[in-house]
Chain length 363, copies 2
DNA sequence: ACGCCTTATTCAAACGTTTGAATCTCTTGA
DNA sequence: TCAAGAGATTCAAACGTTTGAATAAGGCGT
């Protein structure tokens, strides 16, 4: 194997090795339209030599010349949020057939890192950006920077259509209602609610769904049994919050038979808190979560939750991005879109019919 | 803002805008040594114009010319394994100060994807590769391909020093012993073991540690209470296995007071299985896991487990890679290294003193 | 008035690839 | 015999940046 100074095999190496010009070799190996005109024997010979020398086209030179990076950046605000991974998988499967490379970066909830990576993304000339806005996420000037560089952008997990960004997220309102209706159908009347952090838009929407479902069933929500998670930027902080609030609920001496938690980690925190006080889930109290992340599925009891079709959302996000890129190539523009994915209730073992109800029906 | 055909601002734009040559602009903005000779006023002017136009150097052109991609590929065999994320974080924090960009890709346990991404990595001229070999991982010809291209490689989660690859992994033997000793100290004598898949190297090592600890304490392991997970490539499959084996254990009618599971997911599966049979953890049976992933921490009871210093391992992996790169620049070579990270026992609520022991000491 | 040093700036080639246009060599038909 | 076309291959410029060498302009000592 020949070693050039750059350490990599180039077209020139191949050209010299088999006595053709660089152009011919390029045409053959990149399967340009002109390669039909190249004699079959030549093609064969060049291809053989290329693989023999272990040639890999230099993406930098190619991108520079073609003015295409074949790259789409995926900027996760916090990759350790289990919420992200299925989305990433969906994106990958959408990009793979288009032979685009995902440039996946994790801002680790740090504004500074976020900006830093954003700069790198722009330098690497990503043709599109998909932002995964899990948990709290302040966008501030991000959009200006990206827009200035005319890079199509799609956001998952947040509605930014009012800022002219195509967005995909779960239908939070429907999801909240789904969870609430489930508890109501099980006969629960006194339901404690743990709302999400105020800064998170999901919070209001899920809350609206919950209220709607309650109103529809003629059930009043005791304001003293409504809690709100603090504005903390760590995705696992919900667990602490749920644990703390469970203690508050029990200390408040207000009766309740079920807890509707903002997300799965919060629900798991609630379960822990109830258990520490000697209460069993679901026998003494039902708990329902939101998101359907892995820990909810593998804990015991499994947490009843609202599933988000994350993989599908990721897939759609990648498709939208690719569409926006082709649109821009044709000097047109893809209109801003909003997709609200339908949530699905996953019933596990953390919810059960209200024991109070059983007594009532007996009476 | 000026728009060129490429859609991006270039050095030429800046040069023309303030009447200097491209060279001068380049020298100033890339802070080359020569920039000391450039008049302070000129520097000022150029910098101002650059930020005004929103200039970002083209990474392709720069890398092509400099022959440095400033990129290190991070190839995860299965990113959905919670095990990976802390490692990635460690890598990121190691790369950040060196202003290297991590090129993170997820093979999703698929051989085809793995090869595909590997090709892309080579085309993008990553200067180093860090492989995260969670769960089962067949390396076959990967190494040849990378070695041919003279790219330094480091592997996390697997010992491949015999193949000449620097490796970082937890000291599995010590970890296995740690878990076993913990159970023994709690007074458990009849301990069921769920071994990992046969193909996974960790399996034998942890098993050796377990056996060693047992021998040291003069405790015999009942072969009928030793199970082995099947060779499945999905990281969450341990849960199913644990659940199934818990049933087998109970069905075998052999007495046991504790279960040592191969990893946390398996432990969670065991807990579920025991619960379904009406047994309480830890009152009726203790369960210990391995890895300390998120689900183990947030389930109730929290799973006692063996923590791996994953973040530190990731950090060290990135440092080794950077060292190997600088070594290669100086035409020397970094020797192959092996780091066995010290595991740490995390005691949570899934383990408790053996009730049989209590009776014995009373008697 | 000349060479020489310093300071400030520019030239021009190179990195590896792609591609429109050009070249060269055959055939073929008139 | 020559023009015209087809087939096969090559030229040369370009993508945006970096950098060793070259140039230009001033200051200073002789």
């Amino acid at each position: 194997m020949v070693q050039r100074k750059s350490g990599h095999v180039t077209l020139l190496d191949i050209a010299q090795a088999c006595g053709y010009s660089v152009s011919t070799v390029s045409i053959v190996l990149s399967e340009a339209p002109l390669s039909q005109n190249v004699a079959a024997s030549t093609r064969e010979q060049i291809r053989k030599m290329a693989s023999h020398l272990g040639y890999h086209p230099d993406a930098f030179a190619r991108s520079l010349r073609r003015r295409r990076s074949q790259t789409i950046a995926v900027l996760a605000y916090d990759l350790s949020d289990p919420f992200c991974i299925p989305i990433v998988h969906g994106i990958q499967s959408g990009l793979q057939p288009a032979s685009y490379m995902p440039l996946l970066v994790d801002a680790q909830t740090q504004r500074k890192l976020f900006d830093n990576y954003l700069r790198m993304i722009l330098e690497r000339r990503a043709e599109g950006v998909i932002v995964i806005a899990s948990w709290i996420f302040q966008e501030t000037n991000l959009l200006d920077d990206i827009e200035k560089n005319q890079v199509p952008i799609v956001i998952v997990g947040r509605d930014l259509t009012n800022r002219n960004v195509s967005s995909l997220l779960v239908d939070n309102e429907a999801g909240g209602a789904l969870a609430m209706r489930h508890l109501i159908e099980l006969g629960h009347q006194r339901i404690a609610i743990v709302r999400g952090p105020e800064e998170l838009f999901d919070t209001e929407l899920r809350w609206a769904g919950v209220q709607h479902a309650a109103a529809q069933a003629g059930i009043k929500i005791d304001p003293k049994l409504v809690y709100q998670l603090p504005n903390i930027t760590d995705a696992t902080s919900g667990f602490e919050g749920g644990l703390r609030f469970a203690n508050h609920m029990l200390g408040s001496k207000r009766p309740f038979t079920a807890v509707l938690a903002f997300d799965d980690l919060t629900a798991l925190g609630v379960v822990r808190g109830l258990n520490q006080a000697g209460l069993k889930v679901p026998e003494d109290c039902s708990v329902v979560g939101f998101d359907d992340v892995l820990p909810a599925a593998v804990s015991t009891p499994g947490i009843t939750t609202v599933h988000q079709p994350l993989k599908e959302m990721g897939l759609l996000a990648s498709e939208w991005t690719l569409q926006a890129i082709t649109a821009r190539e044709q000097h047109s523009e893809k209109p801003v879109q909003l997709h609200k994915a339908s949530p699905e209730l996953i019933v596990r073992m953390s919810t059960a019919p209200c024991s109070a109800l059983r007594q009532k029906t007996k009476a």
